[in-house]
């Protein structure tokens, strides 16, 4: 009796085991992957490939007549014009004054902007006084003030420096005080708890902590600086990329217009690459 129940139980167990084995056999499959994505990954050559494909498409379109010569210049013609500009030596004559205006103006604007931004971040009095002022001048198209700058700083380089500096200044201020506000307060509290001097806390904790925000603000500010550089040069300069573009535009010389625009793009890429290098150096500590 006891024996037969034991065998029955054993048989039932065996059947159950078989059933689960069968079930596992049909339905055994890997868990569906649904993670991944949402993480920027470095794909070096894609950007370049997009550029090249667009250029080749334009070249093919203009050659086949699908795109008329009045709509877009042929990329190969633009390249030829560029080579001509380079060989005539005029490239440097236009590029050097532009680059030096950009450097002087942007350096001035960014330095003062970072300084003022840090003051706003650190002192409530400065914040109360300057934040409304910055908010008021931020939306003014700085180019509208060029005549004023000409009166103040002269028709030559002075007004151009001032325009670029002024345009770089406002976004830099806003980015800088935002970055200072975002510095981890527990780190500042830590500095105070070790009786660091006020100046040490600013130099060793606040500034490095704000650096990522300041640098990403500079990306925007410097792009604005390039835009203003061209605007200033269009309104009165013998040499400069802006003057070159203006002249080409007046003559409807699309090849030269595109050469000028391309130089500006390259200038922008160079500035951005320089900032990336600076970030790599200054922000090594980040992951």
């Amino acid at each position: 009796m006891a024996d037969s129940t034991a065998t029955a139980a054993k048989a039932a167990e065996a059947r159950a085991a078989e059933a689960t084995a069968a079930a596992t056999k049909d339905t055994r499959r890997p868990v569906r992957f649904r993670g991944g994505g949402f993480v920027p990954q470095s794909r070096r050559w894609i950007g370049l490939a997009v550029f090249i494909i667009l250029l080749l498409a334009t070249e093919a379109g203009t050659r086949s007549g699908f795109i008329s010569n009045l709509t877009l210049p042929r990329p190969s013609d633009v390249l030829a014009t560029f080579v001509e500009l380079f060989q005539s030596g005029l490239l440097w004559k236009h590029l050097l004054p532009s680059v030096s205006r950009l450097i002087v103006g942007a350096l001035l604007g960014a330095t003062v902007g970072i300084g003022v931004g840090i003051m706003i971040g650190l002192f409530s009095l400065v914040r109360a006084g300057l934040v409304p002022l910055v908010a008021a001048i931020f939306p003014i198209p700085k180019i509208a003030l060029l005549p004023l700058f000409v009166i103040w700083f002269g028709i030559d380089e002075g007004s151009k420096y001032a325009l670029i500096a002024f345009g770089t200044f406002t976004p830099t201020v806003v980015a800088t005080y935002g970055a200072v506000d975002n510095v981890d307060r527990t780190l500042i509290r830590m500095g105070q708890s070790f009786s660091l001097t006020w100046f040490s806390i600013v130099r060793k904790i606040v500034l490095p902590g704000a650096m990522p925000g300041i640098l990403s603000g500079l990306r925007v500010s410097l792009a604005i600086a390039i835009i203003l550089l061209v605007a200033a040069e269009m309104l009165g300069a013998e040499y400069g990329i802006g003057a070159y573009i203006l002249e080409a535009g007046a003559l409807y010389d699309l090849e030269r217009l595109f050469v000028g625009v391309t130089i500006l793009s390259i200038l922008g890429i160079c500035v951005s690459a320089a900032l990336t290098q600076i970030e790599k150096h200054l922000l090594r500590w980040r992951v």
């Binding site: 780190l187 708890s193 500590w285």
Partner: protein
């Protein structure tokens, strides 16, 4: 240097956080403060270290700190508070740089504290390369570097997993045996309290008041996990904390 708290009370815009706390912190002892979360433990520690001023009462220093103490009241924070852009060594030298020490003195101090916290091999590592336990070791090394008269530790092991916590507790006991530092050690973990505390202060839920002070006479180096005396003390603490914690848990956050 002893510390004495006299009738400390504190409130934030009408919200009373601490009430009538009087307490003695004797030299060379570790005083643990336990209490339900939100009862004002961190606030009490900030008041003791002079990062905030009490609404009423005062914190007194009895006697002057030893001459070689660079920063008499020194914190160890729960979230480590290490500068991510400085190496282990740089984080320690940060707190020495403002004190007119010459470079070789700074180096001697750093060598010493790194050796004491078993970090000598990690001098040039950045915080992000370190595990939580290592980061807290760096923070402890940084605190030791300034020769504190009193260490103010705010849940220093709460961010760590239990194995790391056990290891660091042994390290802390080792450090204390070598050089009997004074500490106020805030925690919500009763096991830490009975392992490290010479006396344990139990705070009630907010507004935090002292409910009881439990002394443990067993020397630190003889406290083993599972020791019956410690177990019974921990049980006693838990009985008292339980009701407070339960009531505190049911309170609305806005209070």
């Amino acid at each position: 240097m002893d510390l004495q708290l006299e009738n400390i009370g504190h409130s934030y815009d009408g919200l009373t956080v601490l009430q009538d706390i009087s307490l003695n912190i004797p030299t060379g002892k570790i005083v643990c403060v336990v209490g339900p979360s939100g009862c004002g433990k961190s606030t009490l520690l900030r008041l003791i270290g002079g990062l905030e001023q009490p609404t009423s009462g005062q914190v007194l220093q009895l006697g002057s700190p030893p001459a070689h103490s660079i920063n008499p009241l020194t914190y160890v924070f729960q979230d480590f508070a290490l500068l991510p852009w400085r190496t282990v060594e740089g984080n320690i030298s940060l707190v020495l740089e403002d004190h007119h020490l010459n470079a070789s003195d700074i180096k001697t101090i750093i060598d010493d504290v790194l050796a004491r916290t078993k970090l000598s091999d990690f001098r040039v590592a950045l915080p992000r390369q370190l595990s939580g336990g290592m980061k807290q070791r760096v923070a402890i090394a940084r605190a030791l570097a300034v020769n504190p008269a009193v260490m103010l530790m705010d849940e220093p092991l709460s961010a760590l997993d239990s194995q790391t916590r056990e290891l660091l507790m042994d390290d802390l006991i080792g450090l204390w045996i070598r050089e009997k530092f004074t500490a106020v050690y805030v925690t919500h973990n009763l096991n830490e309290a009975v392992r490290l505390g010479h006396s344990i202060v139990i705070l009630s839920r907010r507004p935090g008041q002292i409910r009881e002070v439990v002394d443990i006479d067993l020397p630190l180096d003889q406290r083993r996990p599972g020791d019956p005396e410690l177990e019974s003390k921990q049980q006693h603490l838990w009985q008292m904390m339980r009701d407070e914690a339960e009531a505190a848990d049911k309170e609305l956050i806005s209070g």
